[in-house]
């Protein structure tokens, strides 16, 4: 008994002494005082030095996309550090390309603010906020895809059709780490007090949280909007939209934007799925077909055996080959898996659509 007590006492004492020592030195040696953070040469912030750039920016309510929560594994939190960032760390190098290294791009979760620092971030990021939301509605669309409507209460979000938000998956039973995952907004930009996301179950941390733990009425956290994949008011030529699975989300937002603003452009939406059971939101698409100026929805099924299916079969690229005219003045918006996008881009290039008019979002 005595041994146990002395053990506890001695270990506690030693740990306490060491902890105090470290806290004191963190306050003295690790204290870099107040430094100036200059963003895009015009905004200046006086911040406490010593933290990572990502945390420092977050404290100033500037959110940079980061899926891993600052562990240096996702590589999303990139920003240009013009002055005062110190040398690039070994933990950043694997996630930065040669061009990025040359143009002073850093991972903000690794780069520490220790002196006056100058950075450059896209102007849109000032628009990004973190929202406390609640789940207004959950709808099971297919066996694996759910539509979730997150209500922002009194707050408003302003985004461009096609952009995405990040959903925070907190620690839950079986998952200890907090992560952020990106989901494209499927709802209209006019719907400023809520966003609708399509979330497919993959067994990952965030999709397990959404599919097995979230219920209607629950609280959640969303930040955004992010992304450079959005509808462009360009020359007004016809539009090709293509997606598969939850890749329908940004395209729905683009279509609703076109409907809301009565944009008179020809649009054609190729949607890839396996069977009839994998199709969803058909009534909404039908409504859009009636409402829009000239819109056609072309579901393409790769594994449908039934004779009743009268639509397109096979891969999306086959349907594109059939419906898209060579040399037409198209603009394309693609959202899907990297393999799918690569094959569609290839098919579109064959139709002489220039690469700069093909916008895509790989996930």
């Amino acid at each position: 008994m005595n041994t146990i007590l002395t053990t506890i006492f001695i270990v506690t004492c030693i740990t306490a002494i060491l902890a105090t020592l470290l806290t004191i030195s963190n306050k003295t040696i690790g204290n870099y005082g107040e430094v100036t953070l200059t963003i895009n040469d015009d905004k200046e912030y006086i911040v406490q030095g010593g933290n990572t750039l990502l945390d420092t920016l977050r404290a100033e309510s500037i959110f940079i996309p980061s899926a891993c929560g600052g562990k240096g594994s996702c590589g999303y939190c990139k920003a240009r550090v013009l002055e005062g960032g110190g040398p690039v760390l070994a933990t950043e190098k694997p996630l930065l390309s040669k061009e990025e290294l040359d143009s002073n791009v850093r991972l903000t979760c690794q780069c520490k603010v220790k002196q006056n620092i100058k950075i450059e971030i896209p102007e849109e990021l000032f628009n990004v906020k973190e929202y406390a939301v609640y789940i207004e509605k959950i709808e099971q669309l297919t066996s694996t895809i759910k539509l979730l409507r997150f209500n922002f209460g009194d707050e408003e979000i302003s985004f461009k059709p096609g952009q995405y938000v990040q959903l925070k998956a907190p620690a839950y039973e079986g998952n200890e780490e907090e992560v952020y995952r990106a989901y494209s907004i499927a709802s209209s930009v006019n719907d400023t007090h809520a966003v609708e996301l399509l979330i497919g179950y993959t067994g990952g941390i965030a999709t397990t949280y959404v599919h097995h733990h979230l219920r209607e009425g629950d609280q959640a956290h969303v930040n955004g909007p992010y992304g450079d994949f959005y509808y462009h008011e360009d020359d007004g030529g016809p539009i090709i939209l293509a997606g598969a699975g939850t890749g329908m989300a940004p395209i729905m937002s683009i279509l609703q934007y076109m409907a809301d603003n009565d944009i008179k452009r020809k649009a054609i939406f190729f949607f890839g799925a396996r069977t009839v059971d994998d199709l969803f939101l058909l009534d909404k698409l039908k409504m859009l077909e009636e409402k829009l100026y000239d819109f056609k929805f072309i579901p393409t099924l790769s594994r449908e055996e039934s004779q009743e299916w009268k639509g397109e079969k096979g891969r999306v690229t086959i349907a594109i080959d059939k419906y898209v005219e060579k040399g037409g003045n198209y603009t394309a918006y693609l959202c899907g898996s990297p393999q799918m996008i690569d094959s569609i881009v290839e098919a579109l290039l064959k139709k002489e659509i220039p690469l700069e008019k093909i916008y895509y979002d790989k996930f």
Partner: protein
Amino acid sequence: MIEVNPIIIIFAAIFTSNMIFSNFLGMCSFIAVSKEIPTAIGLGISVTMVMTVTTILNYIIYWTVLVRFNLEYLMFIIFILIIAAFVQLLEMVLERYLPTLYYSLGIFLPLITVNCAILGISLFMVTRQYNFMQTLGYAVGSGIGWLLAITAMAGIRSRLNEKSIPEGLRGTPITLIITGIMALAFVGFSGMVQIQ
């Protein structure tokens, strides 16, 4: 306890009982950071410093606290705690005052915490019942021995860069083979002095 002059222990720890070549301790950072001489020397000096200071601290705590309260069995956990805390402290100091060295050591600085050579010294000092001066000599000597070994290895590896090595042996395997050959060479020093 054996009666050996601390000065002799320093030499013995560098040559006859080198941490790397006779005990094969502290191998992970030895292999990972021995690519360039400057970084290797930086890590070697840090290891020597951590080794010396933590061994002294561990010596004091072991003999004044653990032995007095009959808690010798706690030495593993206490030694690791002391080492971890000291490395944290060293990291803060380097980050503030020697950023160049801090950045070139990168991830290997916190990894000194789990460098088994450092824990090894503290444990050997207990099993061999060294007195304070002997412990100090042993820690300093082992640190210098480790520094010598990693610097030599970095020198050899920087010369290997342009040589053609069979693909399956590149990197870690060839380093281990060279370590083995160097260890054989260090056997030549054995028998000069006995410290254990």
